[in-house]
Subunit: 151 residues, 2 copies
Amino acid sequence: MPTKHAQRLATRITSRGRRLTDQRLIVAEALAAGKEAVSAQELYERVRSRNPRLALATVYRALEAQVESGMARRLERRGHVSAYIACDVEHHHHLVCVRCQKVEDLDETILKPVLRGINDRHGFAVEHERLDFYGLCAACRRAAGSTDSVR
Amino acid sequence: MPTKHAQRLATRITSRGRRLTDQRLIVAEALAAGKEAVSAQELYERVRSRNPRLALATVYRALEAQVESGMARRLERRGHVSAYIACDVEHHHHLVCVRCQKVEDLDETILKPVLRGINDRHGFAVEHERLDFYGLCAACRRAAGSTDSVR
DNA sequence: TGGGCTGTTGAGAATGGCTCTCAGAATGGT
DNA sequence: ACCATTCTGAGAGCCATTCTCAACAGCCCA
């Protein structure tokens, strides 16, 4: 009795002519279950108890496949580790609060002019970007009594 | 007879209470000589012929020190490899070509609206940001015959 | 100027994330 | 159901990076 959610994942997995396998579904569900970025190792451990025969290499392959088909995004973590996050729609970028560590999603429309500018002024075709803003979120800003405006 | 350039590098190397060593100067000069991002391995090989006793680990350590003191910036390359680029001043953002590895500085004025937008729409006070774009530079784009526009 | 404290280096081994290999198993079109 | 094709499990292999530690070299101070 596949859930509606599993159905949708299955559709996306096979959308590029890829085969639907139990392993891919397991990995996709596990990844989609969390809202934070997970490394392949972590995901492997998280899933292992229920699926003892699942191999680590398979997790890597499944994640790679998800990234390729746009179901997930690969992020870089310190120490040359990749972390993955499920993506419903277009990927987004983050505002990381250096005080409370909370992460907000960046309003993507803000970026459009930048990408266009890079294209127009530099003739540069952006493939992917690394884009993280660190600072104080609204709450912490109030708490800190900061009246600083943006630079 | 240290050149003016070497003098300036030396000053920056020691600026954080770090010791000035031949090895650090060699690495700093080699990195500053190029305008494209270089991996530690590449830099090591580039420098090895003139300095056969220089160890790879030392190159890694010197690059790490440069990153920490703001003389260089670490970029990500495919396959979990770090690449480094010398930074003249504080905090530039980069356009890194994934094909020829050349690095352009981003026209900073493009960013102004983004920072304003983050401030206005998210109430988020940006302290610092990490912002690198990866893609095809104008030359490689022509070479590739790409007619793709920006997303 | 000459210790001496301490940061730094060289060399190679160790680490660890990730990928490869390959035989056997599973998938999906026909 | 058949079969070409794709996937998987298991572990070995790969390779960028880091660690270890004894020897060495800056730099501070008298």
